[in-house]
């Protein structure tokens, strides 16, 4: 998302894969690899980079406080060396090759490239082998200095913890490390993205046995100032998608019985302040046929919209599933973080759910699933 940014009057364009590379380098510390340091404390540390953010975390039962200090330090202080960067470049090249062998990740990348004309979400998170060659220690340091400071950071802890003590520990560690000051202001340079997909179709041939497909529908983004509206849209679309594509739907049942979709079929809505889209896909016996049948089914259903009892039922189900989330601390913390980055409080979910309105849901149906908003991406065995 930060492929292009301005700071101190200067514009910087960074190669694809930079944020992900920086994530790898954060684990280089002057006492060895931070993953090993976490492991020695008996906690499991890791990190991930999405299109929107890089997150660092640990989970564990004991040694919470020393692990917490370790986590703050590895994020706040960069110890990367040119030698370390060269070594990590080889590791990342293997990671990229692993994704290249995965039909699902190839399909996802091709879909986003076809859906978006200029928005940075179309860029590969890990980058290409060529792009990663162009990443330098200085470039990584500049990105660390620009983005890794308290004014651009969200911290989440979940567990049987005293919140005040946690905040004190984080702030205390930042003071000790001398990294508690806000950073230089920066501005993300996100080009204006047209509302319609850049291309209606993309076909990839891969050495696999089974075809797969993804349909992507582009939605209008809400901008930074309307997180509640964005959350509401997300809830509306997920309820709608469950009615239309879920296991209770006739459309789902017909496609399943025809062998066109299987257990892998899933639907999700991805959004940030400057982008939003819904994706439906999975493996299939015939990628063209399933895409055609899905689009036909949606276009018929879109005319009449969904009904109140259908919506009610999905709300009840969504309530139950939200409760289940509390059984996974790690899942809960990650989800809470990802929503917080969008300015949304995840715990407002039951209220948003209770106040969904049928007209709004059907309006989303009409807008988002309009035929001109869709891109069809397929993988063909070859």
């Amino acid at each position: 998302m930060d492929a292009s940014f301005e700071t101190g009057g200067q514009v910087h364009d960074v190669p694809d894969g930079t944020a992900h590379f920086l994530e790898h380098m954060a684990f280089e510390t002057d006492q060895g690899n931070a993953l090993a340091l976490f492991a020695r404390l008996g906690v499991r540390g890791n990190a991930f980079t999405s299109s929107v953010a890089t997150a660092y975390y640990f989970t564990g039962t004991d040694n919470f406080w020393p692990a917490l200090r370790r986590l703050v330090e590895l994020v706040a202080v960069s110890r990367l060396t040119p030698k370390g960067v060269e070594a990590e470049r080889r590791v990342i090249a293997q990671e990229i090759r692993m994704y290249e062998d995965s039909p699902a990740s190839r399909l996802q990348e091709r879909l986003l490239e076809a859906l978006y004309a200029v928005h940075p979400i179309r860029r590969s998170i890990a980058g290409t082998l060529e792009a990663v060659e162009g990443i330098t220690p200085d470039g990584l340091r500049r990105c660390h200095a620009t983005f890794y400071h308290p004014s651009n950071l969200v911290f989440v802890a979940a567990g049987d913890l005293d919140p005040e003590r946690v905040f004190d520990a984080v702030e205390g560690e930042m003071d000790r490390l001398g990294v508690a000051q806000p950073g230089e202001p920066f501005r993300r340079l996100v080009p204006d993205e047209p509302l319609l997909p850049a291309s209606a179709r993309t076909v990839t041939t891969l050495p696999v046995k089974r075809p797969s497909f993804m349909l992507g529908w582009k939605d209008r983004p809400f901008g930074e100032d309307h997180p509640e509206a964005l959350f509401r849209r997300e809830v509306d679309v997920s309820l709608l998608a469950d009615v239309v594509f879920g296991p209770t739907s006739g459309l789902f049942n017909d496609l399943y019985r025809a062998g066109l979709i299987d257990e892998s079929f899933s639907v999700r809505y991805a959004s940030g302040s400057t982008f939003a889209h819904a994706v439906a896909g999975g493996t299939t016996r015939d990628a063209d046929l399933v895409s055609e049948r899905l689009l036909e089914g949606i276009s018929r259903w879109r005319q009449k919209g969904i009904t109140w009892p259908e919506l009610q039922r999905k709300r009840r189900k969504a309530h139950g599933q939200f409760v289940g989330l509390f059984d996974s601390l790690e899942g809960m913390a990650t989800l809470f973080l990802m929503y917080r980055l969008k300015g949304i409080n995840l715990f407002s979910y039951p209220d948003v759910l209770e106040t969904t309105r049928l007209e709004e849901v059907n309006r989303a149906f009409g807008e988002l699933f309009a035929p001109e908003r869709v891109t069809v991406a397929t993988v063909t065995p070859g």
Partner: protein, 448 residues
């Protein structure tokens, strides 16, 4: 704790009041065998399509939605030499749903009775119906035909997931002739004979003859246990005779020599998998030492394999080892450039040799033990971890009431791990690569 439902039918209750969801599992155990593996794989696919009361996916899914979005599934799982045909159900725990959500938002805990009626009882009824009260014959025939096609496509495309295919191929070569060498999906050549009648006969014999294992994990009281026993009773009663117990999964025997297997695929990254024989299975006295050994070798990102192969040599993104606890096998896995094959194998050999000499420090040992204990405790925090952990123990012939692996792990000494380190024998080296031609299988004398 165990409740006998009948001869060869057990219900295990794993109470955990801290969970906000309750989980039920009903499983039938059978030995993996060429004659039944494909039946075992096909049956749950057909069963999960519906029951006599909920005969299709929309009505079944609708029923689950009325139970507050409870979830339901059926599958076949391979546990060593056993195939387990199972159906599972999970639902929000016995507290008012919205109250639970609101309490969670205030950071409070809630207890109380279930206002919506017993969801777990409804779940147990559904699981009993899944196995015991299938859809009418005509519908059954349609589902069998559809699921056969789906299974055929799944079997044909197993190679699309390069990593799991490489793991399967290595284990399958290593265990050739053992039940465990069969793929959990079954065999494509069997599908022809899978008629609706044949599958129905298989269902009847499985349900009336195979041992039943049921679990309830999550918040549960005596009343809930009674309700579940009652709901499962029709299923247990389908058998007049005692259910025949299944032979436990047998440890893989010591190899007489090392083998190398190289196969071709159009891949960007070559997959190297090494099977190491230890012969130590779950429940054996030196099993805890094996867990520590695997932790030192490749169980964690602080382990030898990750450090040597990824961090020092930069050969791979992933490099780890894991236990196949039901067979006494350690599987080592990494994704590499084919040109680095020899170097990667050499690095792995060096670490096996180093651990065979007992070459590790107290710091390394303590760090590994911390990681092992943390993982063992984390497992207890997930209901499915609890149930499958216990099912795995059962498959090796151990029937324990309480799972407290950390106590055994806590007691392991460095010397016990040094003793264990002499046991592992390199068995099969498997490479899935782009250009396998021109390489012959070389045999080397094994281990010591």
């Amino acid at each position: 704790m165990r409740h006998a439902l009948g001869p060869g039918a057990d219900l295990y209750v794993l109470p955990a009041q801290r969970f906000r969801t309750a989980h039920l599992l009903v499983a039938f155990e059978q030995t993996l065998a060429p004659e039944t593996v494909t039946f075992g794989s096909l049956l749950p696919r057909v069963l999960r399509r519906g029951t006599r009361r909920w005969p299709d996916m929309p009505s079944l899914a609708g029923h689950l939605e009325d139970l507050y979005g409870s979830s339901f599934g059926a599958a076949a799982t391979k546990l060593g030499d056993l195939q387990v045909v199972e159906a599972s159900f999970s639902c929000p725990g016995p507290v008012g749903l919205l109250e639970a959500v609101r309490a969670a938002r205030r950071g409070e805990r809630l207890t109380g009775s279930d206002p919506a009626g017993s969801l777990t009882r409804q779940g147990a009824v559904l699981l009993a119906e899944t196995f015991g009260s299938p859809v009418p014959a005509g519908v059954w025939g349609d589902y069998v035909a559809e699921e056969k096609d789906g299974l055929a496509r799944d079997i044909a495309s197993v190679g699309d997931d390069r990593m799991s295919h490489a793991h399967y191929r290595c284990v399958s070569e290593m265990c050739a002739g053992e039940p465990n060498s069969l793929h959990s999906l079954g065999r494509a050549e069997d599908l022809e004979e899978m008629t609706p009648d044949a599958l129905e006969r298989f269902r009847c014999s499985l349900v009336s003859e195979a041992p039943i294992v049921a679990y309830l994990a999550g918040p549960a009281d005596d009343a809930a246990v009674e309700e579940i026993e009652e709901a499962l009773a029709p299923l247990v009663r389908t058998s007049a005779r005692a259910r025949r117990p299944v032979a436990p999964s047998a440890p893989h025997p010591r190899p007489s020599q090392e083998r190398e297997v190289v196969e071709a695929a159009d891949v960007e990254q070559a997959r190297l998998v090494i099977g190491v024989q230890t012969g130590t299975v779950l429940g054996d006295p030196d099993y805890p030492a094996q867990v520590l050994y695997n932790g030192l070798l490749g169980g964690f990102v602080s382990s030898r394999l990750f450090r040597r192969i990824r961090e020092e040599a930069g050969l791979a993104y992933y490099a780890w080892s894991r236990l196949i606890a039901t067979k006494g096998i350690i599987l080592i896995s990494c994704g590499i450039q084919e040109a680095n094959y020899g170097q990667a194998v050499e690095l792995i050999r060096r670490e096996l040799d180093s651990l065979a000499k007992g070459d590790f420090t107290d710091t390394e040992f303590e760090g590994t033990r911390n990681s092992v204990l943390a993982l063992a405790k984390a497992l207890l925090d997930t209901p499915s971890g609890l149930m499958y952990g216990h099912l795995e123990l059962r498959s090796t012939g151990h029937d324990v009431d309480e799972i407290a692996p950390w106590r055994l792990l806590q007691a392991v000494t460095p010397d016990q791990v040094r003793d264990f380190g002499r046991k592992p024998a390199l068995d099969t080296i498997y490479l899935l690569g782009k250009q396998p031609t021109g390489r012959t299988q070389e045999a080397r004398p094994s281990g010591d």
